[in-house]
């Protein structure tokens, strides 16, 4: 066993840190914070120019072929600096999916533009009546010659207002069990009949409701076979799952440590000497270390050519739940000052704790809620029986 990240990874971390010094300006961070659009085209392009969008990709894509530990270092650095990467990470995830299940034309058309930081792809899975049960999607796609006609509504289509495509789950067959009648499309966001309505959230992030009214999509933008959309989803989910929130939590704890060292308690001593502050920070550190290791376990599996399944769910579950718990605890620790928001002069840690608490809540909800992750762990990791009813045809 060796728990060091390794020289390659350490060097890469330094390189990325230098890159961020130059390109991740206060302006970029604050724009994302103020607009709730956690994406910045200029920063995305700079990431692409530095090769970081394709850091893990093979040479034939101009990639840097970095190993999973270098990739962990990259995401650590981005998290530590609060970089607005929601848009780029979803786009790159879909590019990876297309590499496995896209047509040669889609691969040639979409992947280079994604890796170059030129296009954004958003996710259209959730609907008003289907969230955790994504396979119950009701948005329909009906064939019309060489085209498909899409009608329906998607919820929480984050970044749709900036995106070029929405990677969309639709229903194409109403007479079979729900998982078997789904088809995936890349729907161009400039197609006729799409309406975007902003949704503002407690965490400050903006998301959207999107409406699709007789939207025409060429068959060439279908991803995977007709009615085989669930299989495509599963590929996409393997790239999504295992996302760890621990980096965000590490950033927060560092900010609070700085605050506690530099600010005085009423007794005239630095807060870092206060027993309750010390206990809370010690606990937060412990949880961050434990959570980081669950994330690195997934990297270790990738590194030996295995796919983390249950391990990814454990990492997502633990990191999001502990991130939230740490945020809530640190807000408590600040007492009345804990309510002060970013922008108030005397807000401890510039109000980032208050902000992180509001944001952390959603990390236990999106990307598969904690209950969904626990279900996966229980069923696939612990061998307990499936609790949900077996699939039945819907909408018949």
């Amino acid at each position: 066993m060796d728990f060091r990240m390794g020289e390659k990874s350490d060097e890469f971390a330094k390189e990325v840190a230098d890159f961020l010094d130059e390109h991740l300006t206060e302006e970029v961070v604050m724009e994302a914070h103020e607009t709730g659009t956690v994406h910045n085209w200029g920063f995305y392009k700079a990431m692409a120019d530095a090769g970081y969008t394709r850091a893990a990709w093979p040479k034939e894509f101009g990639g840097q072929e970095r190993d999973p530990f270098e990739m962990a270092a990259l995401s650590d650095q981005l998290n530590l600096r609060h970089a607005p990467t929601d848009g780029s990470s979803v786009t790159l995830m879909i590019c990876s999916t297309l590499r496995h299940v896209g047509t040669p034309e889609q691969q040639a058309d979409i992947i280079p533009r994604g890796l170059n930081g030129e296009i954004l792809i958003c996710l259209g899975y959730s609907e008003p009546d289907s969230g955790s049960d994504a396979a119950a999607a009701a948005t329909r796609a009906d064939r019309d010659g060489d085209e498909w006609v899409i009608n329906g509504q998607k919820m929480f289509t984050t970044l749709a207002h900036e995106a070029d495509y929405v990677f969309m789950l639709t229903r194409t067959n109403h007479d079979v069990p729900k998982h078997k009648g789904l088809t995936m499309f890349l729907v161009p966001m400039d197609a006729e009949g799409i309406e975007i309505q902003p949704v503002h959230t407690m965490g400050g992030e903006r998301t959207n409701i999107t409406f699709y009214n007789d939207v025409k999509v060429p068959d060439a933008l279908r991803v995977g076979d007709v009615d085989a959309g669930w299989g495509v989803m599963r590929v996409a989910l393997t790239f999504e799952r295992g996302g760890s929130m621990m980096g965000q939590s590490v950033r927060l704890v560092r900010l609070v440590e700085e605050w506690a060292k530099e600010n005085l308690a009423p007794n005239g001593r630095p807060w870092i000497e206060d027993p309750l502050v010390r206990e809370r920070l010690a606990r937060a550190n412990m949880l961050n270390n434990a959570g980081a290791l669950l994330g690195l376990r997934s990297a270790d599996l990738f590194n030996r050519g295995e796919l983390p399944g249950v391990e990814g769910s454990m990492s997502k579950l633990f990191s999001s739940e502990k991130f939230l718990a740490i945020c809530e605890d640190l807000v408590d620790m600040l007492g009345p000052e804990g309510v002060l928001q970013h922008g108030e002069d005397d807000a401890p840690s510039a109000g980032w704790v208050e902000h992180a608490m509001r944001h952390a809540v959603v990390t236990t909800i999106y990307g598969g809620t904690s209950e969904i992750q626990r279900g996966i762990i229980a069923e696939h990791g612990l061998g307990l029986p499936r609790t949900r009813k077996s699939d039945r045809a819907r909408n018949s």
């Binding site: 066993m1 060796d2 728990f3 060091r4 990240m5 390794g6 990874s9 530990f69 440590e257 060292k261 870092i272 000497e273 027993p275 010390r278 206990e279 920070l281 010690a282 606990r283 550190n285 412990m286 949880l287 270390n289 434990a290 959570g291 290791l293 669950l294 690195l296 376990r297 990297a299 270790d300 590194n303 030996r304 391990e311 454990m314 579950l317 633990f318 209950e371 992750q373 626990r374 279900g375 762990i377 229980a378 069923e379 990791g381 612990l382 061998g383 307990l384 029986p385 499936r386 609790t387």
Partner: protein, 342 residues
């Protein structure tokens, strides 16, 4: 980074795992209570080299590192075998570290004597609540300025106190037996601190193993037990708690291994990591054993069911050291320096 075990590490953990599977089940553990010690089993394990393997090679031992021992401690913890593995191996390593003043005692340990270590400095020549003291031949303690070893014959071993974990815990009067000074002053403090660090690292791993076995027992039970016409393991409130437990134990296992590794490697954050691993493993083991017992319903409360053995030890092995919140304070000391330091 590489989280896999070496072939040697696999071989040695499998060796002990199959030994415990064959020799020590719940019934065996129960029969060894309340003392919590089984002489014959311990003699076999000593024969297998369970203690001497942890002694440096130049002192006549097997030269295993703390991480290797932590892996064995996981297996030991799963078995909750009534033997003082952690104390004996930590004390043996301490005797080796002491140098010439400990060489005779070390030789007797390599030959099969059992040593243990007091977890708190002695007060008024008395070491309180020393694990394994009721069955050990040698007790090592920090007595004022001195690190001392007392050799207790079978006749003057202290009687075990009745205790939650049914372990051979006893109070040791350091004046009753032959007392030998191993080190003094700063050196004594440092040797003692290192030994305690190792004890915490190995106990953390033992707790991870204990927690995993408590989970396995619970999972087996909830698949067998039916209520409302279905296995109780099909109820989501049961599943989700076990999913949280399994996740926490995996994290604790990784943290405990990293902590032991960091001691071997002399990493600067080793002290903080060992404390964190200890606290987190304690919490994981206690919660898992608690959930597992709870999902046994009333049966879990019966002495006849094994899960209570795990439940009691999960708590006892943790707090025989200290209140976990005090340990968190030590984590803070390691991370931020002690309060009042310039």
């Amino acid at each position: 980074m590489d989280l896999s075990l070496t072939e040697d590490q696999q071989t040695i953990t499998e060796l002990f795992a199959s030994f415990f599977a064959k020799e020590c089940d719940g019934e065996f553990v129960r029969e060894a209570e309340p003392l919590g010690h089984h002489d014959e089993l311990w003699a076999k394990l000593i024969e297998m080299g369970m203690v001497s393997m942890g002694v440096p090679a130049d002192a006549g031992g097997g030269g295993l590192g703390l991480l290797d021992l932590a892996l064995v401690a996981e297996v030991y913890g799963s078995s909750i075998a009534p033997v003082p593995f952690v104390e004996a191996v930590v004390a043996a390593r301490l005797l080796a570290a002491v140098g010439s003043s400990g060489s005779e005692l070390l030789a007797s340990v390599v030959d099969g004597s059992t040593a243990t270590i007091a977890l708190r400095p002695a007060v008024d020549r008395s070491a309180r609540l020393v694990p394994a003291a009721a069955v050990a031949d040698i007790v090592i303690a920090l007595d004022g300025d001195e690190l001392v070893a007392v050799s207790q014959g079978a006749s003057n071993r202290p009687t075990a106190v009745k205790n939650l974990g049914s372990g051979p815990v006893a109070n040791v009067d350091l004046t009753l037996s032959a007392r030998q000074v191993l080190a003094v002053g700063n050196e004594a403090q440092q040797l003692y601190a290192t030994a305690l660090l190792e004890w915490k690292a190995l106990t953390a791993s033992a707790l991870v193993g204990l927690g995993r076995e408590a989970l396995r027992i619970g999972l087996q039970y909830v698949m067998e037990r039916h209520q409302f016409g279905v296995p109780i393991g099909s109820f989501q409130s049961v599943q989700h708690r076990f999913a949280d437990d399994a996740t926490a134990l995996d994290a604790a296992g990784l943290l405990a291994r990293k902590a032991a590794w960091s001691v071997d490697e002399g990493e600067p954050d080793a002290v903080a990591l060992v404390s964190q691993g200890f606290i987190f493993a304690s919490e994981g083991a206690q919660r898992t054993a608690g959930d597992s017992l709870h999902f046994h319903g009333g049966y879990g409360f019966m002495l006849e069911y094994d899960i209570q053995l795990y439940y009691r030890r999960a708590k006892a092995w943790s707090i025989i050291w200290d209140d976990p919140r005090r340990e968190l304070a030590r984590v803070a000391d390691a991370l931020y320096g002690p309060v009042g330091a310039a």
